[in-house]
């Protein structure tokens, strides 16, 4: 991180503006497409400025975990393609990819909007496993929010394949989708200097002091949080950031239909 860029970003924040002229709490232009992949049970693509993320949802029938014999589950994986950012390398998922997948996973799982018991086919033997794959096409900052938005949109629009005589026919889709009680959404609030912003671009992401990803429901219920960055946050900071996160989550929720 170069010193002059960071100084410049902070100076601009004092004037209530940013490198690209946005307000501090303003998102870049968001576009959301669903059903972009035919072979997936559900899919969505989110463009957040120049950030581009595709999420695909596949389902499988599996044996349930021994501690929850009557529950299905979700599995989230993230792949940071080397083409999407010069810093990303091929190979097993690194820290960033694992964190991204966990942020999305926890946002959905802890919101309890998805009843895992309804994913049970036969107790102790067969349950549906929902596999959510995040692929970054281009990283121009703020992957967590884009991924979480795409993931929930893909889940909302997914349709189960036909399941007959213990076999899944992926070619035939049924009209049955997932029963989501609410739309949990994640908003990452960034602290740089003493200002809070949302939706950082790649330059701002390099200047982050601390970040907090806040997942919330439509009534403002907090589902999950993830803190990152090198600097600590005070209790006051956290409550301010949660407020911003919940507020912005409401804005994003309008996009998911």
């Amino acid at each position: 991180m170069s010193n002059i860029l960071r100084e410049h970003i902070i100076k601009l924040f004092e004037a209530n503006t940013r490198l690209d002229g946005r307000e501090l709490d303003e998102y870049r232009k968001i576009s959301l497409d669903v059903d972009v992949i035919n072979t997936a049970e559900g899919s969505a693509r989110v463009l957040l400025g120049e950030t581009d993320v595709i999420v695909g949802v596949k389902v499988e029938v599996m044996e349930p975990y021994p501690d929850t014999p009557d529950q299905g589950s979700i599995m989230v994986g993230a792949e940071l393609l080397p083409l999407s950012n010069p810093d990303f390398e091929l190979g097993p998922p690194g820290q960033e990819a694992i964190e991204l997948a966990r942020i999305v996973d926890r946002g959905i799982r802890e919101s309890k909007c998805l009843d895992f018991k309804k994913l049970c086919i036969k107790e102790g033997e067969k349950v549906w496993m929902i596999i959510i794959d995040i692929v970054t096409i281009n990283d121009a900052g703020n992957l967590p929010d884009a991924s979480a938005l795409a993931a929930i949109a893909a889940l909302k629009n997914m349709k189960f394949p036909e399941y007959k005589d213990d076999k899944i026919d992926y070619k035939k889709k049924t009209s049955k989708g997932l029963d989501l009680k609410d739309i949990p959404l994640s908003v990452t609030v960034i602290k740089i200097g003493d200002k809070f912003i949302v939706d950082p671009d790649s330059d701002e992401e390099k200047a982050i002091d601390a970040r907090l990803t806040v997942a919330s429901l439509s009534d403002g219920t907090l589902c999950a949080m993830q803190k990152g960055g090198d600097y600590p946050l005070t209790a006051e900071d956290v409550s301010k950031m949660v407020d911003i996160g919940v507020e912005k989550g409401k804005e994003l929720r309008k996009l998911v239909k």
Binding site: M1, S2, N3, I4, L5, E7, H8, K11, L12, E14, A15, T17, L19, D20, G21
Partner: protein, 241 residues
Amino acid sequence: MSKINVKDKDIVVPGEVLAVGMDSFPGIGTYRGGENIISAMLGLVQLDGRTIKLIPLSGRYIPKKYDTIICKVTDVNMSGWRLDINSPYSAMLSMKEATSQFIVRGADLTKFYDIGDYVVCKIINVTSQKLIDVTMKGMGLRKLKGGRIINVASNKVPRLVGKQGSMVSMIKDATKCDIMVGQNGLIWINGGPEGELLAVNSIRKIEQESHLSGLTDRIKEFLDKNKPKFTNDNNEKTIKK
């Protein structure tokens, strides 16, 4: 009998056979493979007598002697500074070329330039092995303070600068920003928030439309159209240097 497969100003891709036969010569951006002259890059063909040259449309910056460039300090060592010049090669700024001030043996060189600082410097030598020496002695060569750095493709720099710097001075006038363009594609901009934003946007526009004619007029129009927004209470919002 030799045959030239391309016309002047054709766009060619790497691997394309530009001419067959020994009557033509390979120029910049091309090479000879047996009888053929083959393109090595994405570029515009320029037929210069019997020589076939390419004007590169892509690729990284290749250092040239006497270029003024903007670079970032990546390392400080015993006798000078290592610089990232936005190229496959790095440059060396020696103590002798950095300042005319006397530096005692073992002095802390980070007091002059530290890692992460941006400097404007001039290339004084490029060896055949691409070892690059730069100097800080000269007009306008200095450490950059404040402002922001943006990156454009180095082969678009000539269009951005314009004839005798006409394009860049037009942007400077319209946006009231200090702008410094490095031949290596790094550009330093410092001014008020709105001015800076307009400067960045117009530079991006130039980058996108650099291959089309009538660029200057379009940029002038673009600047005029977006100017009023920024002239309003400009002074109030201008960041003090």
